[in-house]
């Protein structure tokens, strides 16, 4: 029987396997951000060292205000301490660190792929659940907890049980105005927020193959919102073109060796998955979430569902509670919901393609509500500015900020006021996620820009002409 993409990479990284099925897996790349600065002190207290410091890459993202350009711009206190300590430990332990003043800094899940640190065929881990993003390049990537971060620093390995495999195929072609974000929201709506628990998901099919690397990263980013610790897409020419020439990608002869190996990785035709799911790409519309779980997503053309129509009493109770928190009523058209703030950014949607998609809608229009546009890295920011996108945003009355996690994490100064409602390109609409009593609706960058210029959820297909 053939092997899946995931199995091929997994097998290549097994150091040792226990009789009970757990394996010690070798990890090629370890990414770290500011929230894990305590790991180094703990390591020292145990008398341990970093086993392979040259496989570790750090950058601050969660704790930097998007108005700050240098460390001294961060208010004194735990935010600044967090950023400062990571930088100091990088110096002390000798690992690569992109500091705030380095154009290469940004959200760790934007920086890794952008620098060629993330590559097909590798294993990559980071103490952040959205590490699933990197699987878009055809590698195994997963989020880990703080204890695992220490373990990985000390041993360059992690204990795992092999997850089950699920293939999600998106057939057909995505329509105009429909993006990777709409695809992943449609998937989570179908399989639920726990549908991928215990699985590694492979995304496949013509609509996935047609996505750019940025679109693929958006899809893989939200694998964890479907419950799956990792998502993966077969590496192809789109992937190789993206990786070629990046600073940390292999060069010359090594590049040729890499390509030859990477071409062997896609799942074999006779590979069997534990579960198969298929969606029709042509039928996916721009999506908006209406509840406190990403599974509560609908096409913008629909209305808020009535919990009374739900047969399962537990789900019904959950829907009633979520509608109360969100202050929404059954039967209300999604397109009638007005927003107070729009956030375009986060590891889900802060890459150059996302900036372009938002700018295409914002061009020549005016923001009706507070709108933050936050590029995912210093390099995305530079590129956007070279293309004049920053001027489109600022002329529309939107705020063009410094890179960082911003309003997705709400722990760096950017947040909603209590009761405020946002259209957000981030990945979580949990209660309080964007600030105490905040109400978040997840959308694509184009839909977020459409909400900004109209003040409510508007089908972006009615605002922009197909070219």
């Amino acid at each position: 029987m053939g092997k899946t993409l995931f199995e091929k990479i997994w097998n290549e990284h097994v150091i040792t396997a226990r009789e009970d099925g757990d394996v010690l897996l070798y990890i090629d790349r370890h990414l770290i951000h500011d929230l894990h600065f305590r790991a180094f002190g703990m390591l020292k207290a145990k008398g341990l060292k970093i086993r392979e410091p040259d496989k570790l890459y750090g950058t601050p993202d969660h704790s930097i205000p998007t108005t700050a350009k240098v460390l001294q711009d961060i208010p004194e206190g735990e935010m600044r301490q967090t950023v400062e300590e990571l930088e100091n430990y990088a110096e002390e332990f000798g690992f690569t660190h992109f500091s705030m003043t380095d154009d290469r800094h940004g959200i760790v899940h934007v920086v890794g792929p952008e620098q060629g640190i993330t590559l097909p065929g590798i294993t990559l881990a980071c103490g952040d659940s959205h590490t699933s993003t990197h699987g878009a390049l055809g590698c195994i990537s997963f989020g880990i907890g703080a204890t695992e971060v220490q373990h990985l620093l000390a041993t360059q390995s992690l204990w795992f049980r092999k997850p089950k495999t699920m293939r999600i195929s998106i057939e057909g072609r995505l329509g105009f105005g429909v993006s990777g974000k709409d695809v992943i929201l449609a998937i989570i709506r179908k399989i639920s927020a726990a549908g991928g628990t215990g699985y590694a998901i492979e995304y496949a099919g013509p609509a996935i193959e047609a996505l750019s690397m940025e679109g693929r990263m958006t899809v893989c980013n939200m694998s964890i919102e479907a419950g799956a610790r990792s998502g993966i897409i077969a590496p192809d020419d789109t992937t190789f073109d993206y990786c070629h020439g990046l600073p940390y990608a292999p060069k010359g002869e090594r590049w040729d060796e890499a390509i030859a190996y990477w071409r062997t990785l896609p799942s074999d035709e006779d590979a069997r998955f534990d579960k198969e799911v298929t969606l029709d790409g042509d039928a996916i519309a721009p999506m908006v979430t209406w509840g406190n779980s990403p599974q509560w997503a609908l096409p913008v053309t629909e209305v808020i569902p009535d919990p009374a129509g739900e047969a399962d009493p537990l789900v019904r109770a959950d829907m009633v509670a979520t509608l109360e928190y969100m202050d929404l009523k059954p039967g209300m058209p999604l397109s009638d919901i007005t927003v107070d703030t729009v956030f375009i950014g986060a590891c889900t949607n802060s890459r150059i393609e996302d900036m372009r998609a938002a700018a295409a809608v914002a061009k020549g229009r005016r923001a009706q509500v507070r709108t933050l546009v936050v590029p995912g890295s210093g390099l995305v920011k530079k590129q956007a500015e070279a293309e004049g996108l920053d001027r489109i945003f600022t002329e529309a009355g939107m705020e063009w900020r410094e890179p960082g996690c911003s309003m997705c994490a709400a722990m760096n100064g950017d947040m909603l006021a209590p009761g405020e409602r946002s259209a957000s390109t981030s990945n979580r609409n949990f209660r309080g996620r964007q600030g105490l009593d905040s109400r978040t609706h997840l959308v694509s960058p184009a839909m977020a820009a459409a909400a900004s210029v109209t003040g409510k959820f508007t089908d972006v297909r009615t605002l922009v002409e197909e070219v």
């Binding site: 990284h13 150091i15 040792t16 226990r18 009970d20 099925g21 757990d22 010690l24 070798y26 090629d28 929230l35 305590r38 086993r51 969660h62 704790s63 735990e78 935010m79 590559l119 065929g121 659940s129 997963f142 989020g143 880990i144 907890g145 703080a146 204890t147 220490q150 373990h151 000390a154 041993t155 360059q156 390995s157 204990w159 049980r161 997850p163 927020a193 726990a194 628990t197 215990g198 964890i224 919102e225 419950g227 799956a228 610790r229 292999p250 090594r254 590049w255 060796e257 890499a258 190996y261 406190n292 537990l314 109770a317 959950d318 994490a409 709400a410 722990m411 209590p418 949990f430 996620r433």
Partner: protein
Amino acid sequence: MAGKKGLKPFKTFASAAVPIDIANCDTDQIIPARFLRRPGTDPDYPKYLFHDLRFNADGSEKDFIYNKEPYRGGRIFVADMNWGCGSSRENAVTALAANGVRSVIAPSFGDIHYSNCIKNGVLPVRLPSADCETLRRQLHEGPGAEIAIDLDAQSLTGPDQTTYTFEIDAFDKHRLLNGLDEIGLTMEFEDEITRFTERYTAKHRWAS
């Protein structure tokens, strides 16, 4: 050597249990992000557990089950589906442990949170949804009722003395029963890791 001892072993445990009737209770609910930079030694840590569900902005208590006697001191939680989904923050387990919580029983868990529990000596128990619902109902009907867990036997006894058995991965069980520190355990494979790294690096020159 069978791995260094690091955590409090989990063998048997009995406590008053708390029903948490929230589906998809994400780790942002268990501990809000603004507390994530605090050290685990912070004396206020117990308050961070369910903070925004438990407290108003002025610090006064909300109407939430974990604020009420006799549930307040409960050290076993019975939750709903997809407990601990979302963020990988291990602080969620730190907040549970800071309150003495030693086990969470739920129909399903977020994968990362599940493994974070194991690594901190907190036992995650998967039971069918209907059984969790039964237990939660009994705990509402009999406040302060106890649940008793025997990890070695992979069983637990509910308030009405019904016994339920549960599955757990053999390695996870071994680690919890013995309170093993994982780094110490892995260090015993030092030679294997070194040999693997040499072999892997020679084979995949592009990857280093």
